[in-house]
């Protein structure tokens, strides 16, 4: 009796999950399908069509797509790297030292994430043009700090706060200098948080659209913006657009899948305390 | 009249979901207890021994696999917790934060629809008893640990339950506060004379609070008796080592016969202790067992003592008493003395034990070996 009831409940739950999965995955599948269709078939067929790799050839071989990917990697990767270099010491300071207005400062860092991108991007555009940062790697990496730095600082700070200060004392007494302690003792301990927040920051930076759209043009061309190119004013190459989107989504998806377990645990661990 | 009867209680957790087969899958095994009306019973055991499970079964929060539970004369197996007429005070003070102390204490009665002035009367009656009269208007967040625990108990007893259940109510408090609260509970229960079951892993708490102690290990009742009984007449090695601080010295021994007198001898030690005469009927030459004697019952013999001379390994002067440790093989045997003499490491003393306080235990099962009557 009880068993039957539980079985029924299980079936119902699985059914609901499947419905949700279809709902969530459908756009992705749709995109994947389109990427194999020729332009003529895009609107005329749904599931039955003549698969072609023409779109892939066009995008990957005959356009500058590879360059766009490279730009994205440089900008997003650079942004995360800078965030780690700046963010880890900042997080350590926020966790360990007491200074006036500490909490206000920490909150301000977090608040960078609150502002709508479109709001800050216009003044930034003017400033960047004046300073010569417009359409440069440095400029984009800099502005991406708005995305990656707060995330990293807040997660890593939680980790530092979780390490008891006595461990540092113990290492001092054991004869280690501060730098040795930091790299030998503390870095291994914050690694889960550091890795997961850095990867998440990378994904966010990778997917960022507004900043590169407005703050860069020809020299630096991340994929998110580049995808737009396939939507010409006169003709829309949906097939190529789909290819560009699919390929650009791959790194994010691969990362997300690889670190899935790590990510949830790593972020929530810090989040409890932070 | 019995206040609470547990008859052949079993509890088995359903392990079907887990891949690993748990070896001892009975959390509670064939537990029988009879608790008289108004008695204070402590369920004592190490963590994970099934004492909390037992309490939860009595409360009705956990299903019973087999057996019967009676509260008073009522069989309560199939009654919902709220119909069992019990009061509960748990380890963590689950108070309703938006209500003040008064509201918290009155909550149960309000839920039952007791008239307002009746509630007021009862709260006012119980507040001075628990010394929370000044706290009634305060919010739970402003209370200290001890105060919260008092409110918690007040909440449990205001319903005038037939049975009061407490699960480690003191474990959140530290040293002094704990001791003070222990005294409070003892006095309170004495006043209201309610049948109480109290779960704890602290043998001191059980010893000082309970009328009777049920010692449980691995879901099996080891001994049920008054504090004096479990202390002086333990049923087995587990009870002997669990009760008392410092714990009883329990040493593996081989008994030898020297010209008609039996002696305990120990591996890697020259120590010999005469076997009390009353055990002569059960021992023989070469008999192996464990000997248990409390540190208080090991004595320092005088000049003319027959005891074996032994070297002192540790000497601790604790002010009120002095503790001496002696190596017997690789076990440190403790003795406690109130003798004012200061010894030091390496001094030689002669050891004697109080024969009437010496216990024998089976090496394999740990059961007490008793003299034949």
């Amino acid at each position: 009796m009880k068993n039957n009831k539980q079985k029924g409940l299980n079936i119902l739950m699985n059914f609901l999950l499947i419905v949700y999965a279809v709902f969530a995955l459908f756009p992705l599948i749709w995109m994947l399908l389109i990427s194999f269709k020729s332009d003529t078939e895009v609107f005329t067929t749904t599931f039955i069509f003549h698969p072609t790799l023409a779109n892939y050839q066009e995008v990957l071989l005959r356009s500058d797509y590879i360059r766009y990917i490279r730009d994205s990697v440089i900008v997003a990767g650079g942004a995360v790297l800078v965030s780690i270099l700046v963010g880890v010491p900042a997080a350590y300071a926020l966790a360990r030292y007491n200074f006036p207005r500490k909490e206000e400062l920490a909150f301000q860092i977090l608040s960078y994430k609150f502002a709508p991108e479109i709001l800050v991007v216009l003044p930034l555009f003017m400033i960047y043009q004046k300073m010569g940062l417009y359409d440069s790697y440095v400029g984009l990496i800099w502005v991406y700090q708005l995305i990656s730095l707060p995330l990293l600082i807040w997660v890593v700070r939680g980790y530092f706060e979780d390490i008891s200060v006595e461990i540092e004392y113990a290492a001092q007494v054991d004869g280690y200098s501060w730098y040795q302690i930091f790299f030998k003792m503390l870095v291994p301990l914050i690694k889960p948080g550091l890795v997961s927040s850095a990867l998440l920051a990378f994904i966010f930076a990778w997917n960022c659209f507004t900043f590169p759209l407005i703050l860069s043009s020809n020299k630096v061309y991340p994929v998110t913006v580049a995808i737009m190119k396939y939507l010409g004013t006169d003709s829309a190459h949906y097939g190529q657009l789909a290819v560009a989107s699919t390929v650009s989504a791959i790194p994010a998806m691969v990362f997300a899948l690889c670190i899935q377990k790590h990510l949830v645990r790593g972020l929530s661990f810090g989040a409890v305390k932070g | 009249m019995a206040g609470l009867t547990l008859s052949h209680i079993y509890k088995r957790y359903d392990n079907s979901g887990k891949k690993k087969k748990v070896k001892n899958d009975f959390a509670v095994k064939d537990l029988n207890l009879v608790c008289e009306q108004g008695e204070f019973i402590a369920l004592l055991g190490p963590s994970g021994c099934g004492k909390t499970t037992t309490l939860r079964m009595i409360a009705g929060l956990e299903e019973i696999t087999d057996g019967e539970i009676y509260i008073g004369e009522r069989l309560v197996n199939n009654l919902h917790p709220k119909d069992r007429n019990i009061g509960l005070a748990f380890e963590d003070y689950a108070m309703y934060p938006p209500l003040n102390v008064y509201g918290n204490v009155a909550f149960n009665l309000r839920a039952k629809g007791v008239a307002k002035d009746e509630i007021d009367k009862r709260v006012r009656a119980i507040a001075p008893l628990m010394q929370i009269d000044d706290l009634l208007d305060k919010m739970p967040v402003k209370l200290s640990g001890g105060q919260k625990q008092r409110v918690n108990i007040a909440r449990a007893i205001i319903r005038e339950p037939e049975l009061l259940l407490m699960d480690e109510p003191l474990s959140h408090l530290d040293g002094k506060a704990r001791q003070a609260m222990r005294t409070e509970i003892k006095r309170l229960i004495n006043k209201i004379r309610c049948t109480t079951v109290y779960v704890t892993h602290d043998q001191l708490e059980a010893m000082s609070l309970a009328d009777k102690i049920a010692i449980i290990n691995f879901g099996v009742l080891q001994q049920f008796g008054t504090p004096a009984e479990v202390y002086d007449d333990p049923a087995n090695e587990f009870v002997a080592s669990f009760i008392g601080e410092p714990p009883m010295n329990i040493l593996e021994t081989t008994i030898i016969n020297k010209n008609g007198t039996f002696f305990f001898t120990f591996q890697d030690s020259n120590l010999q202790i005469a076997v009390p005469k009353r055990y002569y009927s059960v021992v023989h030459d070469g008999f192996r067992c464990k000997m248990g004697v409390r540190p208080m019952d090991v004595l320092i013999g005088g000049e003319d003592s027959q005891g074996t001379p032994e070297e002192i390994a540790t000497f601790e002067n604790l002010g009120d008493e002095r503790r001496i440790g002696i190596h017997v093989g690789d076990v440190l045997m403790m003795l406690i003395t109130e003798d004012e003499k200061r010894y030091k490491r390496g001094d030689i003393i002669k050891l004697e034990v109080r024969g009437e306080k010496t216990h024998l235990f089976d090496t394999e099962t740990g059961d007490r070996i008793r003299e034949k009557k």
Binding site: S164, E166, I167, Y169, A170, A171, Q172, V173, D174, G175, Y176, S177, Q180, M185, P188, L189 | Q179, R182, T183, K186, R187, N190, L204, M207, S208, T226, P227, A228, Y231, D232, G244, E245, P246, P247, R294, P295, M296, A313, T314, F315, E316, N317, L318, G319, D320, R323, G325, L332, M334, I336, E338, R342, R345
Partner: protein, 360 residues
């Protein structure tokens, strides 16, 4: 090993004066206990010796050499922390080896291994070396923390309540082991505790600390039998010493103390002790608080000669013996504690008859 001296150490955290002129002299190879209630500043003293904190005033000397400006890595001290502070990512073996692998105390691996095995044997944890701290129980962690200090050859061992987080049984057995270990090693050790049994059992000398100041320094016996004030007397002993309000009367060599109990008055002659007598005479004392330890309070459940009547407030076991607390009625220090054996059947609020053995 070294002699440790502190001279007039002062340290404040914000507005709180944590240490207020601490002066200590710990001789070479001495086991020195800092004893006091929580928040007295004991840990801060250790931190100042270890160099983790800088005192604002005063001098820390190791063997006469001023160490104030030497950082903790170069002070060569070994410390056991209250929360053990094991490195969670390292195995027990690596934890213990960490000091010997640092640049300052570099030792070759074969030597490290020998030392760790030696320490592991003393601490009875040879089977734990490959585990991570998260796989250890509190008692085991505590052993590892001790072991980590033991493998070194420091100027001084600093121990901050190493037994505080263990349960009572383990604490007592570890205390005994520690006592034995210390006797074998013969090292300078400064040990912080709030447990008077640890202080009494372990310390060659004990310093009582209260609110950042030293109240008394002496051997265990000195402090137990000749406490310099009520605070010390109450701190030393469990159950706590009884303090009773008394009126001093008489003159010359026959002083007597009277206590008001339940409305009636009980008078005892004070023992002949010229020192105390002289003091009382000098100050013209009329009233005094008299302390008497619980084991010197005799009781009986039958009326008897020289005993006065009171009521039982509670009866509780404290391990190998029990404490009866009696209620003396409406006086300032109304509760009187006394020692009784385990297993008596004593009902609260029953009558009890008490005699004080004041000659102790």
């Amino acid at each position: 090993m070294a002699r440790i001296q502190l001279e007039n150490i002062k340290k404040a955290f914000g507005k709180v004066q944590a240490l207020d002129g601490i002066t200590l002299d710990v001789k070479d190879k001495e086991f020195f206990v800092l004893f006091g209630p929580a928040g007295a500043g004991k840990t801060t003293i250790l931190n100042c010796i270890a160099g983790i904190m800088m005192p604002e005033e005063g001098v820390v000397k190791f063997d006469g050499e001023i160490m104030n400006l030497v950082d903790s890595a170069h002070r060569n001290v070994a410390m056991v922390f209250e929360n053990y502070a094991l490195y969670p990512q390292m195995t027990v073996y690596d934890n213990m080896a960490s000091a010997l692998r640092s640049k300052l105390y570099k030792t070759d691996e074969a030597e490290i291994k020998k030392k760790i095995q030696w320490a592991a044997k003393i601490m009875k944890m040879e089977n734990l070396l490959e585990r991570l701290p998260s796989q250890l129980s509190n008692g085991q962690k505590q052993r590892v923390a001790m072991g980590r200090a033991l493998v070194r050859n420091p100027n001084v061992f600093l121990m901050d309540e190493p037994l505080a987080h263990l349960d009572a049984k383990l604490r007592n057995s570890m205390r005994t082991e520690l006592k034995e270990m210390q006797a074998n090693l013969g090292s300078t050790c400064i040990y912080v505790t709030h447990d008077f049994m640890e202080a009494m059992a372990l310390g060659d000398h004990i310093a009582i600390i209260k609110e950042g100041k030293i109240v008394q320094i002496g051997t265990g016996d000195e402090i137990y039998y000749m406490p310099c004030n009520e605070f010390t007397a109450q701190l030393m002993g469990d159950p706590e010493i009884n303090i009773i309000d008394a009126e001093i009367s008489g003159s010359g060599n026959a002083l007597a103390a009277s206590f008001g109990i339940n409305g009636s008055t009980v008078t005892y002659e004070l023992p002949m002790d010229s020192g105390v007598y002289a003091k009382i005479r000098d100050r013209q004392l009329k009233r005094a608080d008299i302390g008497i330890r619980p084991q010197h309070v005799k009781y009986s459940f039958e009326p008897a000669e020289g005993y006065f009547k009171a009521t039982v407030y509670s009866y509780e076991s404290i391990g190998n013996k029990s404490v009866i607390v009696s209620d003396l009625g409406d006086v300032r220090h109304s509760q009187l504690r006394m020692i009784a054996p385990n297993g008596l059947r004593v009902e609260p609020d029953s009558d009890i008859y008490i005699r004080l053995e004041i000659d102790h």
